[in-house]
């Protein structure tokens, strides 16, 4: 099922249950799958037009009145374009605004470099109090969205919008602020997020065939990050790999290294965008170009094992 379909269904459920939730789109309601909600909630779902800065500050104003606004656009316009509005109107003013940001990283595909945000996590991670969540699949999105609606504060939801393979079974439960263990292992830790979880699981098959048992942990919430899970896994394996669909500067790698530098310094190898801009292309090409494939993760695990003297 498409992520945006699950997003729309879950938002509808939440809006039915909680009359304070409002949904604001910025002329991307259709691609984000949220276009029909204005028919179901004519007062509480509206399109603001192509005015993302206005959208973020209007949401802050509505929040100050007791509403829970969800604003929605593509990741670059939901982060770097409105960085100051998120920082000041939303976070500094302690407002309860949720940001639905679709098409993270290479998933912008043929919209290319202008729409391909590799920096959004880095931009927002340095703003105090902003929670950053990146779902792996529809189950995780569906289970965590209600927790986000309940949580009081700014939350950035960095989500793929099209079809994604399922990683988790329907009965899986999640906590917004705790990482999700995918496999217990002792040889190397792999911390992964978003679409890189699927690649990690593909890599895992190869690693298993080579006799390498990885400890695989999905960091769906990059801020605040689950420090204890990272440290205990690193202590167990002594070899760490991170995998993300984001610049290696400012994202998951940075967040994991910040934790480990303080609590358990260890060699960290990373899969992600090596400080480059985006470009047009389909996912397979982009994964190959930016070295985000399963085989890249396998190679990185071997590199880390060698450097760690294992």
């Amino acid at each position: 099922m498409e992520m945006r379909k699950v997003l729309a269904e879950t938002m509808e459920e939440l809006m039915l249950k909680n009359k304070d939730i409002v949904l604001i789109n910025a002329d991307l309601a259709k691609p984000n799958g949220l276009g029909n909600l204005k028919d179901k909630f004519p007062d509480r779902a509206f399109n603001i037009g192509i005015a993302e800065q206005n959208m973020a500050s209007i949401a802050a104003g509505m929040s100050s009145y007791g509403f829970i606004p969800f604003i929605s656009t593509f990741t670059p316009f939901a982060s770097r374009r409105i960085c100051d509005q998120i920082a000041i109107s939303c976070a500094y003013a302690k407002q309860n605004v949720k940001i639905i940001a679709t098409d993270p990283g290479i998933s912008a595909e043929n919209n290319g470099g202008t729409h391909m945000s590799f920096e959004d996590i880095g931009v927002l991670r340095s703003i105090p109090g902003v929670v950053i969540f990146e779902p792996v699949d529809k189950v995780q999105l569906k289970k965590i969205l209600p927790q986000i609606a309940e949580y009081k504060g700014v939350v950035y939801i960095r989500t793929f919008r099209k079809e994604l393979p399922d990683v988790f079974s329907e009965d899986e439960e999640f906590d917004l602020f705790s990482s999700a263990k995918l496999q217990d292992g002792k040889d190397a830790s792999i911390f992964c997020t978003g679409i890189m979880v699927q690649e990690t699981l593909l890599a895992n098959k190869i690693l298993q065939s080579q006799g390498i048992n990885a400890d695989i942990i999905n960091i769906h919430t990059i801020k605040p990050i689950d420090k204890s899970a990272i440290v205990s896994s690193a202590k167990k394996t002594g070899a760490v790999v991170t995998a993300e669909n984001h610049n290696l500067i400012g994202g998951l790698r940075s967040a994991v290294c910040e934790v480990l530098a303080e609590q358990f310094p260890v060699y960290v190898g990373s899969i992600g965008i090596d400080d480059k801009f985006g470009q047009v292309g389909k996912m397979p090409f982009l994964k190959e170009f930016y070295k985000l494939r399963a085989e890249d993760i396998v190679n990185k695990v071997h590199e880390v094992l060698t450097k760690s003297g294992k």
């Binding site: 005015a51 206005n54 104003g61 509505m62 109107s89 003013a93």
Partner: protein
């Protein structure tokens, strides 16, 4: 006390407040004194003992650097003790340079990053509309601030959503930090711009005259059936009412205030030191 006397009293408080800090945004604070006094004395449905009363009228001072003027009026209304005023910008203060809703009772939105407060005000007006609570939402923007693109995004939104509960003011003192607005990036014709954005527009010739401001607000309220937001353009004087501030002209945006200047100003305003 009549409104003009109240304005003089508020100006004394502003001068003492900024004077205690040693420097601050005096020009744009003094230019909106009459507006704040008219709003708080004659129009706003508020309850200083219950600053968060849900259906209260709101004031969003989007030109957040006018904090000292807002603080003087809020203090006068009893939102907090007068001793707070001398803490402006001092460590741990509840009265920072720019308005902060989480620090100062009576402040309805955190502002200072220009343009954002105006959008937030539209969000508040929209929220009040959804709640159908009958509140009037007031907001003040600067003329320099009107160079921000976000102002015009919010202007489009307000007209689209028929925010007739929105009464906005432009503090049109014709000056910004670096110089005259007309030399830097002119707004003219300002009234035509707001008309073109489908707002009711009321020009107030002397934006430092309480009666003229009062009449404009009464008129704005009478236009509610037009289902449009209203912009009241106040032709004001930056630094109004204190000689050294007015005389400094474009240099009065933020000024050093010496003890001698405080003394001279307070005497000029007929107050006790």
């Amino acid at each position: 006390m009549d409104l003009n006397q109240k304005c003089t009293q508020i100006r004394r408080l502003i001068l003492k407040t900024i004077g205690a800090a040693g420097s601050g945004h005096i020009g744009g604070s003094l230019s909106i004194v009459e507006l704040l006094v008219v709003l708080y004395e004659k129009h706003m449905n508020i309850s200083p003992k219950h600053p968060q009363k849900p259906d209260r009228d709101r004031l969003i001072v989007s030109k957040g650097h006018a904090g000292p003027a807002v603080y003087a009026v809020l203090c006068d209304k009893g939102y907090f003790d007068a001793s707070w005023l001398s803490t402006l910008n001092k460590p741990g203060t509840n009265l920072p340079s720019h308005c902060d809703m989480n620090k100062t009772p009576g402040v309805d939105m955190t502002t200072g990053s220009l343009g954002q407060g105006f959008s937030a005000a539209m969000g508040i007006a929209k929220a009040s509309q959804l709640r159908n609570d009958g509140a009037t939402i007031y907001t003040i923007i600067g003329d320099g601030e009107s160079q921000e693109g976000q102002i015009w995004e919010a202007a489009l939104f307000a007209a689209q959503h028929n925010l007739s509960n929105m009464i906005a003011f432009t503090d049109y003192n014709k000056m910004q930090l670096d110089g005259k607005v007309s030399d830097i990036c002119s707004l003219e014709p300002l009234d035509k711009k707001w008309e073109a954005f489908n707002w009711n527009v009321i020009n107030v010739k002397n934006g430092n005259d309480c009666d003229e401001i009062d009449r404009a607000i009464v008129k704005a309220k009478s236009l509610i059936n037009l289902k449009k937001p209203t912009m009241i353009i106040l032709n004001t004087t930056k630094g109004k009412g204190i000689h050294f501030a007015e005389a400094a002209g474009v240099n009065n945006h933020s000024m050093q205030i010496t003890p001698e200047m405080i003394e001279q100003g307070i005497i000029e305003l007929g107050g006790d030191l």
